[in-house]
Amino acid sequence: MIAVLILRNGQVVQSIRFKHTNVIHADPIHAMEAFNKWAVDEIVLLNVSLEPSSAEKFVEIIHRISRECFVPLSVGGWITSEDYAQQLLRSGADKLVVNSIVSEAPELVTRLSESYGRQCIVASIDVCRSEGNDTAVAVDRGRRIVTSSPGDWAKRCVELGAGEIFFNSISHDGARRGYDLENLKAVCSAVGVPVIAFGGVMTWEHMAEGLRAGADAVAAANIFHYTEQATRKAKSYLADEGFRMRVEGRAFAQAGNDAIDG
């Protein structure tokens, strides 16, 4: 169960088809605090600011967030050099989410994978649908199409050194009708590395659909911000559906961290 925080200019925003307007939290640390209590298993933090100058502030945010984050923290956005990747990792990030450089600087993906290990590289694949429902894979926040085959693109990411795939759909993003299951399946069957499903969750059943489609982990953003105890509720639902979920927090029986029924 992975919570995604979309950051624009340092604020957590709602994402709808890759447009980011509503500010949900002025300070991402508040979202982080809630997720810590709600048994979230992993955090993905994406900087979608249009300005490359946002990169520096993003490092500071990661530095602060990571002090409160004792689950894996994946970060992405504006990773265009080894230096910047290193800054992010030194600030407390555990994994790098790469997207545009898979197309624009593939050798950088490989170098990062060699330097930090395959487990450190998460390739984000943004799939979109045309009006005629044709599939394409886009990079650069959805602005440039690179191929029509998500499966082939996923294979390429793994060949370059990615250890995980973060599947997103621009058409389903914020659309509340569940993941793009057909393309998710295509990606899951194309690669042997874990695939995280993202984009479009409105109900807990959507998450179950993602897992049945072959995803190894399910992610959501908006729904987690608007539902109290969201990740706990989601986990209870999925556990009832027969999926194995992490049962959290029994070691430290603090208020607010009591175990959920697994």
Binding site: N36, D41, S66, R67, C69, F70, V71, P72, L73, L89, R90, S91, G92, A93, D94, Y116, G117, R118, Q119, C120, G163, E164, G192, V193, P194, D216, A217, R246, V247, E248, G249, R250, A251, F252, Q254, N257
Partner: protein
């Protein structure tokens, strides 16, 4: 249990993200010390050996940075040493990752790949549970079958069952925590395993 802030040495030999471990040590109220000078390591009361990536370059870097002898010295003195992830693998005898490589040999164990024919995804990434048959202070207050966070493609296989502190099932049963006197290892990342992981680190400080 130690009182006050105890300094915890984290060996900084130039690999991986030490920030997460340091943050976790701070969170449980102790003092992380990133140690890049082997001489300073000899003064440590508690040592964490971190590590990510492949074993061969990690072992080579430990050697060239002069950490091997001080680690042996601390091990002999009885200083508690906790290897985390690749750090745990480095404490073992040898590894078959990309050839055969000698490691520190503080625990009688070999590092083997997961069987690719089982059909599970490799690396083993994500939360999985730990179980154990023997009690140990490192596991005080941890509920049986607690979930912790793993990221690895190779795993330890111990010569002696007594060195298996905890095991985990992923296609096969493998040793996910190791123990031999003051030498301890966790294949998973306690610093990324939320409350369970923080409790294990707190137990380590209290040893």
């Amino acid at each position: 249990m130690a009182t006050g802030r105890t300094p915890i040495a984290i060996i900084d030999y130039g690999v991986g993200n030490l920030r997460s471990l340091a943050n976790a040590i701070e969170e449980i109220g102790h003092e992380p010390e990133l140690i890049d000078d082997p001489e300073v390591l000899l003064k440590a009361d508690r040592i964490i050996l971190p590590g990510v990536g492949a074993i061969e370059p990690a072992m080579r870097t430990l050697r060239t940075n002069g950490f091997v002898e001080p680690i042996f010295e601390c091990a002999k003195r009885g200083t508690p040493i906790l290897g985390v992830c690749l750090g745990m693998q480095l404490l073992c005898t040898s590894s078959y990752e990309n050839g055969t490589h000698e490691a520190l040999d503080l625990i009688d164990a070999e590092i083997l790949p997961f069987d690719p024919d089982v059909g599970l995804k490799i690396p083993h990434i994500g939360w999985n549970s730990i179980s154990w048959d023997q009690t140990h202070p490192l596991l005080d207050g941890i509920a049986p079958s607690s979930d912790v966070y793993f990221v690895h493609s190779f795993h330890a296989s111990c010569q002696h069952d007594s060195n298996v502190l905890a095991w985990t099932e992923y296609g096969e049963k493998f040793a996910s925590m190791l123990v031999k006197d003051n030498i301890l290892g966790a294949q998973f990342h306690p610093e990324k395993s939320q409350y369970v992981g923080l409790k294990i680190l707190q137990n380590f400080v209290g040893l």
